[in-house]
Symmetry: C2
Subunit: 490 residues, 2 copies
């Protein structure tokens, strides 16, 4: 009843004591995925063979599917041909293909040797579809019914052949030329009168995807049309497979994790987190860090030139605001690019909505930047009056004499006035630059992913690394211009 | 049939010409969501009333569900009580509750007035569940069957009452005390012999969630156990509702978008992107930017102190590397925190796996930082020899005479030697600091979200903003220490 889990130790004990009955009982009362996780941690995989001997193959086939890839490979090595064939027979072809894709060649051979010839050719065909397409995630075990059948005939056919199919909740209706003409939800069939023809019951407003459609697009279709399963057709528009909602759930999560990873400059992990060794994790991080380090050279270059400029030598306090400038620009751009990348990924808009999106973002950027302008002006002024950062005037002209709130210096009106002027100039310079930097950052963050998406590249991967560098460099150059203006003209 | 879409203009034309038959035909051949999107863009909502008059209410109810919230509200205002009651009767209670939650009070009253009393109390109960819990996303229209029924009896009962239920693909089996004792997939019922008892057919290893369980946890359960629907029980363990996989798909996507948003420092949008006005988008961005700006004060403070230090005055080139330092630290930490936040969200690990995760990340951090150390040392040396950044020696001692690859200066062995020494010192200082900064960043990025998650707060929201500031400050302080050491001791 309640989620009563099974521990690895308990399971091992039962196996060691050869308690066949108890082991069978566990499969009745504990969800298979929980048993599989207990199995994964058993050190000696040979012990698992006992389970495969004493439990019914309909249970062990499911167990096998849920096991960790390493344990699975080890098992394929040590199971007998008969045991293996039994398990493979009960597996859905799409699960099997997923397994095979990551296995060493000798194990793949062993698997293919133990499945019937016809299935072997299906597996080989599925293996040939490009990764992340509908073809690569679809299953071929679907139920198609002739549109001339009655509801009762259909139900008895389902009872006869439905058990080996991936799903019977969505039925695919074909005409006598084997063209897909409709889909039928099982519940509509159940509620139908026995003598109604499928042709009258089926939905004619169904949607399909091509085998080469990207899995993200497939997920968006299933979600949009609220489907349990979607038909996959080949280039000749023949029904070749279906994708079910549980595969789609995995796709949605995978794509989301990919978006998060790309935004954080890391290649997504292929295995689960805990199964990924540290060195492989490092490998996912290093290339990005190095690329960003190289891109960062531009920023170093600009800053190196910048700090030699007259205005920054005169007012070293301006250099102290460089991190704030870069962080705020980066944050402002990062917000927008995240919205853009998720929006494009979940098809909230497409590059076709270009002008609407630009206009909306430009307006929003203007508002955000204006708030930043006002707030940062006030905040930077406070920072200087409290002495958090020290404004010592041009070339240190008021160093040590300027009145801040805490230093108890006499508020000589002339010095106080000069200090106030200096503070306002610095605050204005930095906050105006922040305004420009965040506005530019947000606009670049819209144009970059939209442009990349229009070129049919992945915006998450291509657009994101460029953003920081472009924004940093533009922000620093604006800073020089605005500072020069402020301290020479004003 | 291929996805033949309907445009707003086409639809409006049919309504204006009062082509009842054609409009009905559209509902047969075009998916409702596509019709709904065409309806959303019709300027005069009154025109839509014609559709609700002439099309069967089973279609219009679905259409109503899919409409944009604004259009929906407008319709509720102008439809007659009878029309409204018709539509509401066909709506699932969970959809209705979702709508009501965002509506002005007078429309809520209008809706509640047009549903039967019993349903009104269900709606009120559902409205009281806390947001983002199982209770708030569940539906109460579930099919429960007594365990003493036979398969045939069950099927005929389903045929009679199943049509009003949210799903019949997962059936909930209760005993005569109304306790939930099992679940049964519809396909198992279809494949069963007619006289088999449900008690013998049902799965006893089912899982349930409490009404107060967080929706993210519900999604993880449904995914983990590969379910079509999961039972929701109250604190007395009575069955009160169910969550179906299509609600779960929305939850998964919502949570993923929330993670992306949090990593990018923006509050997630509530409506779809294109429906969110620019000012509201700005409101989602501003608070975070301001908080980060305030947090950035620490960095400004530290850098302000730093640049007055002897070593940085002597070697201004070191200041040019500050952005690289901060960016690389931020990137290294960002990678790790993203993996942590996604891992925690998708339950790949929990705070209980603390030590395993720390160890793995520490190892990975060591490897990544070592690569950064070696690579950046080489890269910074190249930068200086090519003159991308100018190493002018201590206090400009070799300014203008130092030999770089492009400047054609004579390679006087003494000056070349001094230049080489200066270059190596700078490269070593910066790359050792980078090593420290990225290692520290990655460790902080593990400890922070794990700590926050252990305190049951959302790591995406709490941990992320703190990371940048902590890492920036630590990196700058390390920089001062290492630079002082390098240029005074070496």
């Amino acid at each position: 009843m309640e989620n009563e889990l099974i521990s690895t130790a308990q399971l091992e004990e039962l196996i060691d004591a050869k308690k066949v009955k108890d082991i069978r009982q566990i499969f009745e009362s504990v969800p298979t995925i929980d048993i599989a996780e207990a199995c994964d941690d058993i050190e000696d995989v040979k012990k698992l063979v006992f389970i495969f001997k004493c439990v019914k193959s309909e249970y062990t086939a499911e167990l096998f599917t849920e096991l960790n890839p390493d344990v699975k490979e080890e098992l394929i090595r040590i199971l007998s041909d008969d045991q293996l064939a039994d398990i493979l027979e009960q597996q859905f072809t799409d699960d099997l293909v997923d397994d095979i894709e990551d296995m060493p060649a000798n194990l793949v051979t062993r698997i293919l040797r133990n499945v019937p010839k016809e299935r072997r050719s299906t597996i080989n065909r599925l293996l040939n579809y490009k990764e992340n397409t509908a073809g690569s995630i679809m299953t071929t075990e679907l139920l198609s019914l002739l549109d001339t059948l009655t509801a009762d005939e259909a139900i008895s056919k389902i009872r006869k052949i439905g058990k080996e199919k991936e799903t019977i909740y969505t039925l695919f209706i074909i005409d006598n030329k084997r063209n897909l003409v409709g889909t039928l939800d099982l519940d509509d069939l159940i509620f139908a009168k026995g003598d109604e023809k499928l042709a009258d019951l089926m939905n004619r407003d169904f949607v399909t995807v091509n085998v080469n459609t990207d899995q993200e697009e497939v997920a968006n279709m299933v979600k949009r049309y609220d489907l349990n399963a979607i038909a996959v057709v080949n280039n000749e528009n023949r029904l070749v497979g279906l994708c079910t909602i549980d595969d789609i759930v995995d796709v949605i999560e995978e794509e989301a994790t990919e978006d998060v990873a790309a935004l954080a400059h890391v290649t997504p992990l292929e295995d689960s987190y805990l199964d990924t060794p540290a060195w492989r994790m490092a490998m996912k991080c290093v290339p990005w860090i190095v690329v960003l380090l190289i891109l960062g050279t531009f920023t170093t270059m600009v800053l190196d030139k910048l700090q030699g400029q007259q205005v920054f030598l005169m007012m070293p306090i301006l250099i102290a605001f460089v991190p704030t400038l870069m962080d705020t620009g980066g944050n402002a751009g990062g917000q927008t690019i995240a919205l853009m990348i998720r929006g494009l990924a979940t098809k909230e808009f497409t590059p076709k909505d270009f002008f609407r999106v630009i206009l909306k973002e430009a307006l929003s950027a203007l508002m955000v930047s204006s708030v930043i302008l006002v707030f940062s002006f006030i905040w930077f002024t406070i920072e200087q009056y409290t002495g958090i950062v020290q404004n010592v005037g041009i070339n240190g002209s008021i160093d040590g004499v300027a009145p801040t709130i805490w230093n108890g210096k006499c508020w000589d009106p002339e010095i106080a006035g000069e200090f106030a002027k200096s503070v306002i100039k610095v605050s204005a310079t930095v906050s105006i630059t922040l305004f420009a930097a965040s506005f530019i950052a947000k606009i670049v963050a819209v144009l970059l992913p939209l442009g990349v998406a229009a070129l049919k590249k992945d915006p998450a991967i291509v657009a994101q690394p460029l953003l920081t560098t472009i924004v940093d460099v533009l922000a620093l150059i604006s800073y020089l211009g605005i500072a020069t203006l402020a301290f020479q003209v004003l």
